[in-house]
């Protein structure tokens, strides 16, 4: 599963430095959660899906406005998943954000995103 995801995203990631074996548990969990709760609207590759047209990671994404991972979390806390933000809990949202940050190149895939330091993970 990881191999397929890593290959599929290799062309879209801003920096693809980690090998498939080096992925934190959190990023791996986030990937699974993303596929289940996010991919239908945002696309398996985060570029476009049935709900939303704008990419949510990578060079064409517009997530810079959230400034850092905490800003993105605050948005997702109340707005995502789109139809029911209660569907998943806060930890699951952090896991998905970690996956997104890794794909966007804002964080290394091997790392774990901590809520307490999320405001020092900038999104460029």
């Amino acid at each position: 599963m990881r191999l397929t995801i890593a290959c599929a995203l290799a062309g879209l990631m801003v920096s693809a430095t980690a090998t498939l074996a080096e992925e934190s548990n959190q990023v791996a969990r986030g990937g699974t959660l993303y596929k289940e709760y996010c991919s239908l609207c945002h696309g398996v590759d985060g570029q476009r899906g049935e709900g939303f047209q704008t990419p949510i990671w990578g060079s064409k994404a517009h997530i810079k406005k959230f400034e850092h991972a905490l800003g993105l979390f605050e948005y997702m806390l109340f707005l995502m998943p789109f139809d029911n933000p209660n569907k998943i809990n806060e930890q699951q949202k952090w896991d998905i954000i970690a996956y997104m940050m890794a794909n966007h190149g804002a964080m290394e895939r091997t790392k774990t995103l901590e809520p307490s330091t999320a405001n020092s993970v900038p999104i460029k």
């Binding site: 939303f52 979390f73 809990n89 809520p115």
Partner: protein, 462 residues
């Protein structure tokens, strides 16, 4: 399970969730707001909440290890009176509409970000609120308080307000487009309502501050709603409508509620809802053309038959670049109509959470003589007539119930139908006072904006 089976199972689950809706256990949004402040639910279970009375204060976070994000309200609407499309999206239940004026409790709500609260943004209290009116084209920039605003000459206007995406459903159900080709929230037809808005007209504002020659853009901006909620309007368009649009502080005779932009918002009758910027804190008039998200890649027509506008070298860009200019901005909302019957949702990517019909289900009517009722509007020129036809037969004219107040407003209409048993399709078509009628189909625009094609209501008469 193999990877393929995992993915297939995941995808099937997501499709099921989006198709059938998930909120079987969800009560009113008051409960959900409390859930955001409550301890995290273990595991990916639906939040199982007991019904709770409305609370006026946001719930305090229960877990010390919880995030730094403050507890905030999402939308304060009772889901029994509105249609739950998503977190910041509530549609009017249009098939229940009866009144000329839409009660605020039943009025659609659409935000791009959670409703900002006074707790997070103290400027939103009436005591603290300030509106900065300034810019390169303004002679005497000012900053006015809420009390200053109330002392200015104001007027009311009866006008519909409609989300740009209202009727997006028709792209999927009738237009033959997929969820990939047209994306966005599935409003069905209820992202519209009519209210009486009290506002200080832009003509008063312009007279007060003085506008220099060469003004090109009026930018309405919220400094508290996310960080990119602003809509530039061409100065000429504002001037053309300057008595009929402005700075609004009351809706249906009462101060604006939080979800509707309290304490002060813009109101631009006839244009899509985003033009009426909520939680307004700044109006800037400038001699440059201004580009930001809501006129480059949001609230614009993106499609093969639309030509993206070109920018000039000295244009101003806020948070976007020239590469983001995807299509012409949506301006006046076009003529539309509906009867008070829920549309069949079959091909749409999602079914709203509390929709009364399951996917593919056709609403049932009783056989016999009955009056069909509906609403029609044509903001720019007013409604001239409304036609209907049954099962592709001859177009007949419906009776417009007075009052017909013309531009900016909707009318109610009715027509008699002796419904015979079986499946039928009812269509409605508004013609405005410039003789523009709703078309059969409209071209693709990928954000699903302003679908004004003739709606086809399937019913089963039993």
């Amino acid at each position: 399970m193999s990877e393929e089976k995992h993915r297939a199972r995941d995808e099937a689950l997501v499709r099921k969730v989006l198709k059938d809706g998930t909120n079987i256990d969800r009560r009113s949004l008051f409960v959900s707001a409390a859930a955001f402040g409550a301890a995290a639910v273990a595991g990916p279970a639906l939040a199982q909440q007991p019904a709770a009375p409305a609370s006026t204060a946001p719930a305090a976070p229960a877990t010390p290890a919880a995030t730094a994000a403050p507890a905030r309200r999402a939308i304060l609407k009772d889901d029994s009176r509105v249609l739950n499309i998503g977190a910041t999206v509530r549609s009017g239940i249009y098939w229940n509409y009866k009144t000329f004026m839409t009660p605020v409790e039943e009025f659609y709500v659409r935000n791009h970000y959670p409703t900002p609260t006074v707790e997070q943004k103290p400027v939103l209290s009436k005591e603290n609120w300030k509106l900065k009116i300034h810019g390169a084209s303004v002679e005497k920039p000012i900053e006015i308080s809420y009390n200053d605003l109330l002392k200015m000459k104001s007027r009311t206007i009866i006008a519909t307000m409609e989300c740009h995406g209202n009727g997006r459903t028709l792209f999927w159900e009738q237009g033959g487009f997929t969820g990939q080709e047209v994306a966005g929230g599935n409003w069905v037809l209820g992202a519209v309502g009519q209210a009486e808005w009290q506002f200080v007209p832009m003509s008063e504002i312009f007279a007060k501050v003085g506008i220099k020659p060469g003004a090109r853009t009026v930018l309405f901006w919220s400094g508290v709603d996310g960080n990119d909620m602003g809509r530039p309007m061409p100065f000429a368009d504002v001037v053309a409508q300057q008595n009929d649009m402005g700075i609004c502080f009351a809706m249906n005779g009462n101060p604006l509620t939080e979800d509707h932009g309290a304490p002060v918002r813009a109101v631009v009758p006839g244009w899509g809802g985003t033009a009426s910027i909520k939680w307004l804190t700044e109006i800037r008039v400038t001699d440059k053309r201004v580009w930001c998200r809501l006129n480059t890649k949001g609230e614009v027509y993106i499609g093969p038959t639309y030509k993206a506008p070109e920018n000039a070298a000295d244009d101003e860009f806020i948070g976007v670049t020239a590469a983001d200019i995807k299509g012409p901005m949506v301006t006046w909302m076009p003529p539309k109509s509906f009867i008070t019957v829920p549309l069949v949702l079959d091909k749409s990517p999602s079914v709203p959470a509390n929709y009364p019909l399951k996917r593919g289900e056709v609403p049932k009517l009783t056989a016999g003589q009955q009056m069909m009722r509906g609403y029609a509007w044509a903001p720019q020129h007013g409604v001239k007539k409304v036609d209907y036809r049954i099962d592709g037969g001859k177009w007949q004219t419906a009776k417009i119930l007075p009052p017909n107040l013309g531009k900016y407003t909707w009318v109610r209409f009715e027509f008699p139908w002796n419904a015979s048993a079986g499946k039928h399709v009812i269509e409605t078509r508004t013609t405005d006072n410039k003789n523009v009628s709703q078309p059969e189909k409209i071209p693709l625009n990928s954000l699903g904006m302003a679908n004004w094609s003739i709606p086809k209501f399937q019913v089963e008469v039993v």
